[in-house]
């Protein structure tokens, strides 16, 4: 190759975007980070809204018999550098999709990361959503972007042509000159992937930006068989949302880079052993101790603390291992660090000593800090 040809190829590659770091507004688009676990079962309890693989949320509403599982799967498009995907598998099928039933996957992008799209101005920039999808059922599916601050939405349809075959899809959304994205830590844009959609959600045209109503959510969606077919599957990976009218090569990044991005919204510390140490602090009184812990990144907002819910899974080591009599609680929390309050109503602690919060002879203990949008 001549020097001129090499230079042309280099410029073309740069223009394609493959050398641009942090171009993807989506976090964990390769589905590699799974702090909450790798398999999630959803019972037929009608309505569920829960995070699954990091940053990706699953919502099902108003169903009756329907249930299934979401997993981190190793089924991926070949030759694209992916090792994981998010896989839905229908368990018990719904007898029929009623007008108010819906299931979708969504991903909320923090507003200040997309405020530069200048929505609400004449300079509003387009974005392109690209992803790999594989489905046991072919047909026309809806995907879109919801804009929280302006309560607006734009959706598109795409076609899955071949069953059980990875297909690459790109959808471009115009800049919204009438929209709003605040420059803050709230929700900015929310890409959605509808899997089945009742007729209540499909009657209003949302193929250009406009005010949100439930009728706009899945306009044009025409395939609901994932609800009514036991064993039906829907897989997603390689999700990218970027500025511009063309999709570029997926931005692979080191695992630890993606993990740090995810930890702005969720941090989980599992007990690695039956007496795992979660952190150190001091005993303030015979019934109370505190430990302190810093977060690896500043969290989106002051988080909630999730525990196992069983007080005796946790103990305070302050010369002896004294079981907690209530589950650990947050105290003096900020977005950078927090105190965690330990309690023993039997006054078993020794005031003035240092202490550790540890798992009490179990690996069921965990601490999870959540500040999802």
């Amino acid at each position: 190759m001549s020097k001129a040809a090499e230079l042309a190829a280099l410029i073309a590659n740069v223009n394609k975007g493959s050398s641009l770091a942090n171009k993807n507004f989506i976090i964990n688009g390769a589905m590699n980070v799974a702090q909450r676990g790798t398999s999630f079962s959803y019972a037929h309890d009608g309505t569920t809204s829960a995070f699954t693989l990091d940053r990706f949320k699953f919502i099902v509403s108003n169903t009756d018999e329907f249930d299934g599982t979401l997993t981190q799967a190793t089924d991926v498009p070949s030759g694209e550098g992916f090792v994981n995907s998010l896989k839905w598998t229908t368990g018990t099928a719904e007898s029929a999709v009623a007008s108010n039933e819906v299931m979708y996957i969504e991903h909320m992008v923090e507003a200040q990361n997309v405020a530069g799209l200048r929505y609400g101005t004449a300079d509003a920039k387009p974005v392109t959503l690209s992803f790999w999808v594989k489905s046991s059922i072919t047909g026309t599916f809806n995907s879109g972007i919801y804009q929280s601050d302006g309560s607006r939405i734009m959706t598109k349809t795409y076609t899955i042509s071949s069953a059980n075959t990875w297909e690459y899809k790109t959808l471009t959304f115009a800049g919204d000159t009438g929209g709003t994205i605040n420059d803050d830590n709230g929700e900015g844009l929310r890409p959605i992937w509808n899997i089945f959609v009742g007729s209540d959600y499909t009657s209003s045209d949302s193929t250009s930006w406009g005010s949100y109503s439930s009728a706009t959510w899945g306009y044009g969606h025409a395939q609901n068989a994932h609800a009514t077919t036991a064993g039906a599957t829907f897989l997603l990976t390689g999700v990218q949302l970027e500025v511009g009218e063309k999709a570029t090569e997926f931005e692979h990044e080191p695992f630890e880079t993606t993990l740090r991005k995810c930890q702005r919204y969720y941090i989980r510390r599992n007990a690695a052993g039956v007496y795992h140490y979660f952190g150190s602090g001091h005993v303030e009184a015979v019934n109370a101790g505190r430990i302190y812990t810093s977060f690896p990144v500043e969290m989106n907002h002051i988080p909630v603390l999730e525990t196992s819910g069983t007080a005796s899974d946790y103990a305070c080591y302050n010369s002896d291992v004294d079981a907690c009599t209530s589950v650990p609680n947050l105290t003096n929390a900020s977005t950078f660090e927090t105190g965690i309050q330990l309690a023993n109503s039997s006054n078993a602690f020794t005031a003035g000593r240092g202490c550790n919060l540890l798992a009490n002879n179990t690996t069921d203990a965990f601490l999870a800090f959540e500040s999802e949008l």
């Binding site: 829960a50 002051i302 909630v304 819910g309 609680n329 105290t331 309050q341």
Partner: protein, 61 residues
Amino acid sequence: MEFKNAKYINDCTDSTKDPYITIYAVVDGRHLSIPCVVGNRYYDQAMKQVKEGTLTIEDAD
């Protein structure tokens, strides 16, 4: 969000300081310590449900 067993938690070393530092509740099956901070979506939702009369939060011990 479905809240169960919601209860205020005091600073356990000083009930006059930082009253009601958190709310402990089982939210959609998850055991959460929720900071009493406006803007936290769990706290805001709990306060909304209290105002609507659909949630009662037990006082701290």
